[in-house]
Amino acid sequence: MRAVSFQQVCKTYPGARGALRALDGVSFDIEPGEFFGLLGPNGAGKTTLISILAGLTRASSGRVEVQGHDVVADYATARKALGIVPQELVFDPFFSVREALRIQSGYFGVRRNDDWIDELLASLGLADKADANMRQLSGGMKRRVLVAQALVHRPPVIVLDEPTAGVDVELRQTLWQFIARLNRQGHTVLLTTHYLEEAEALCGRIAMLKQGRVVALDRTSALLAGTASTMLGFKTDQPLPPAIAQHARVTGRIVQVKAHDAAEVESLLAQLRAAGVHVEDLEIGRADLEDVFLEIMQGAPAVAPARVAA
């Protein structure tokens, strides 16, 4: 049985200047035990899709299931299987960390859950904050509590909506170690993030959304293999020859140019030399997910959803 299944999900928001189509026939499945990444630029529909999964938003059409349970018709069973870490840093100012976790546990029908709550607090570095009021915690600590709240009923499917946005390095490390451990223990993880290196490092499979449609869906390794596999990088203050400038990604002094093989690298370097461009800090590396992402987002029009789902 699929951990999560999106079937032809559409969402249209009514607006003053006509309807906004946030999701346009999104279909894909996530298998049990997968670490799955959902990527896309701002406004692509990632959060809308996750909100529909969580029951915060209702799809205009289509169907979403968690472990075979429809998120509308059989919402209670579906939600019990889900642990959602919301994007916004929200908290209830009336309660301490432990109270908030006990209450959240109770909503899911899990009483006397203190052993697991203690384990969560320890794993997330919150043990000494258990009795602190939520208001007294720093932003990073509040984020950890949100993760603990999402996991308090031991959900088989964990959904993290940009959990590391604006989070310091230490928490990012703690969080990923913990989530990776849960994934090894069999939990399914669905992650949206803007940090593509995180997605590349963690996710076995990735879907990319653009304007409410799935434009790529594959194993991370296949996505990386499918694009130009080598990236030539260097720094320069001089203008590039037009033939190279056309294909280069320039960030300040940093220039990155795709190359398919060693011969192409040689040819690029020859062109630069011929143009008299002085090159510093020359690197030849593998293309990373960011390159794939930009290629897909700038390139091909949205792939027909039916083909992607196959």
């Binding site: 915060l56 100012p93 009336f94 109770g106 029908g109």
Partner: protein
């Protein structure tokens, strides 16, 4: 409801009670003090000048009205302010992702509101008993109208909390609907002393029947039959609770 549903409902009820109890100075003590001030001022001015029922002083007459007014206003304030706070701060998401049924939301929000209303009402009764003698002539009516009034306003607060998107919309609901309707329900006077037009108008106010029925329990005398009051209050309760449940089922303004 399954066992899990009951656990979830119980937890949400507990959380809602804990929420107001943690700030009980503001949610319980303050309204008791306000009611006591009304009693001191109106009792001082009107004792001996106004007599509604034979043998009952004005201060005694006023106490049940003040108790019921406190029950109604605080039951409304509890569910409405809890919901609007959760909506605005965003922590309603913790409830929205939980497997709680619309019935569970209803029972918990209305239950906690009733408890706050009744605790404040009991507090007002307790402190005002120092000022005038009072005994329960027909105690069943006291219980029936206290419970029904608290439930009605808890459910109305739930509707207001779901509908409102800003704090000032809740304040408007409270100041322009709840306050006038409670003040004009005969808390401070018998509606029979009003000119005919206002007497008729008062009979259209469901709060009048709650206050009148509640007072009946203390004095054994009332402006209208307690059975009439019970019928009006029961019909209002069914309508308001039905609407609140329907809004929860449809996810009105909380699931987009």
């Amino acid at each position: 409801m399954t066992g899990m549903g009951l656990e979830g409902t119980g937890t949400l009820l507990y959380k809602e009670v804990l929420r107001f109890w943690k700030v009980s100075f503001q949610t319980v003590a303050a309204p008791v003090l306000t009611a006591m001030l009304y009693l001191l001022i109106f009792g001082h001015v009107l004792e001996g000048r106004v007599q509604v029922y034979d043998g009952i002083g004005y201060t005694s007459f006023l106490i049940p009205g003040l108790v019921m007014m406190s029950v109604l206003q605080n039951a409304f304030a509890n569910s409405s302010s809890s919901l609007i706070q959760s909506k605005i701060t965003g922590n309603l998401v913790f409830l929205l992702v939980a497997p709680l049924s619309p019935q569970a939301w209803f029972v918990a929000y209305v239950g906690a509101s009733m408890l706050r209303g009744l605790v404040v009402g009991a507090g007002v009764l307790l402190v005002t008993l120092w000022f005038a003698p009072l005994h329960a002539a027909e105690p069943a009516w006291i219980a029936v109208f206290a419970l029904a009034g608290a439930a009605l306003m808890g459910a109305l607060g739930l509707i207001a909390g779901l509908w409102a998107e800003k704090f000032d919309q809740i304040a408007a609901f409270q100041n322009f609907i709840v306050m006038p309707m409670t003040f004009l329900s005969g808390v401070f006077y018998s509606v029979n002393s009003l000119p005919p037009f206002w007497l008729e108008a008062s009979h259209l106010n469901p709060f009048f029947y709650i206050v009148d029925g509640f007072r009946r329990g203390f004095f054994g005398a009332s402006d209208v039959s307690p059975w009439t009051s019970l019928a009006v209050v029961a019909a209002s309760l069914v309508a308001v609770c039905g609407m609140a449940l329907q809004l929860l089922r449809s996810g009105y303004k909380i699931r987009h």
